[in-house]
């Protein structure tokens, strides 16, 4: 990927991420987040992580964001931020934006100072399903199996929390 492509992608990513944070309507925030996740999947492809890019689209943009949209529409939310915004939080908001800007600037200054050598050409099949699966089922077999317990706990917890109490 050339620098021009990178800057176009980075600009689109930052704009959509800012839309998530500043848009008053939660549904449009969620749509902007879907766009952000798709653009990140494109970045993953350029970084050679093809398998992770596919998972990003399927799991994040496909499953998690649908869950978010379901909940937003179930709760029937409207733009209720404007009223909350008026209650004397202006100073706090400005401070938060300045703090975020300082955080990003400091991290950027730190990263740009490190002289990374140009990465070596990746081996054939790097980032494909086979290489990720080999690492996952050989080197990371135990954490992978523990993941299933985590998901089981999440399923049980979600059902217990979200069910309607019979009273």
């Amino acid at each position: 990927m050339g620098p021009v492509t990178f800057f176009l992608l980075a600009t689109a990513l930052v704009v959509s991420a800012l839309t998530v944070v500043v848009h008053p309507n939660p549904v449009k925030s969620a749509m902007a987040l879907v766009a952000t996740l798709f653009l990140l999947a494109v970045e993953f492809v350029f970084l050679g992580a093809h398998m992770i890019a596919a998972l990003q689209v399927i799991v994040y943009a496909g499953a998690i964001m649908v869950l978010f949209l379901f909940v937003i529409m179930l709760l029937n939310l409207s733009d209720e931020e404007a009223e909350a915004r008026r209650r004397g939080r202006a100073l706090f908001r400005i401070g938060a934006w300045i703090g975020g800007g300082v955080l990003a600037a400091e991290l950027a200054a730190l990263f740009l100072r490190v002289p990374f050598p140009a990465p070596a050409a990746p081996p054939a099949g790097y980032g494909g399903a086979e290489s990720v699966a080999t690492a996952l089922f050989v080197d990371y077999a135990l954490p992978f199996e523990l993941t299933s317990i985590l998901l089981l706990i999440a399923v049980i917890g979600t059902v217990v929390l979200a069910q309607r109490r019979a009273s």
Binding site: M1, F6, A10, V14, A17, V20, V21, P26, S29, L33, T36, L40, E43, F44, L47, A49, M51, I52, L55, Q56, V59, Y60, L67, F68, V71, L75, L77, E81, A84, F92, R93, A96, G99, G100, G101, L103, A104, L107, A108, F111, L112, F116, A118, P119, A120, P122, P123, Y126, G127, V132, T134, A135, L136, Y140, T147, L150, A154, L161, A162, R164
Partner: protein, 100 residues
């Protein structure tokens, strides 16, 4: 080829945007989405370092982060629905019964 540090800077900017979102927004679902944004910014760092080091381990960690994010989203949204039943609001300032 784009240097690794550019990806790290982009990831830092996305993380900062997510952090500001958690601080300034009061709609608890949008706060949740900002947290997802921060998780994804870190995933970009992992993948960029995986390419820099020529190993696959960073991508495997991203897989685990996605799993945890999915579990976290499911449980978190269930908590939001349960809280909404008790008190019909998604404003984080009004859901402060656990604060001492």
């Amino acid at each position: 080829m784009v240097p690794t540090s550019w990806y790290l800077v982009l990831s830092a900017v996305l993380f900062a945007i997510g952090a500001v979102g958690v601080l300034v927004r009061r709609n608890i679902i949008v706060v949740f989405m900002a947290i997802e944004l921060m998780l994804n910014a870190v995933n970009l760092t992992f993948v960029a370092f995986a390419r820099q080091l020529g190993t696959i381990d960073g991508q495997v960690i991203v897989f685990f982060v996605m799993t945890v994010a999915a579990a976290e989203a499911a449980v978190g949204l269930a908590i939001i629905i349960a809280a909404f039943r008790n008190r019909p609001t998604v404003n984080a300032d009004e859901l402060a019964v656990l604060r001492w």
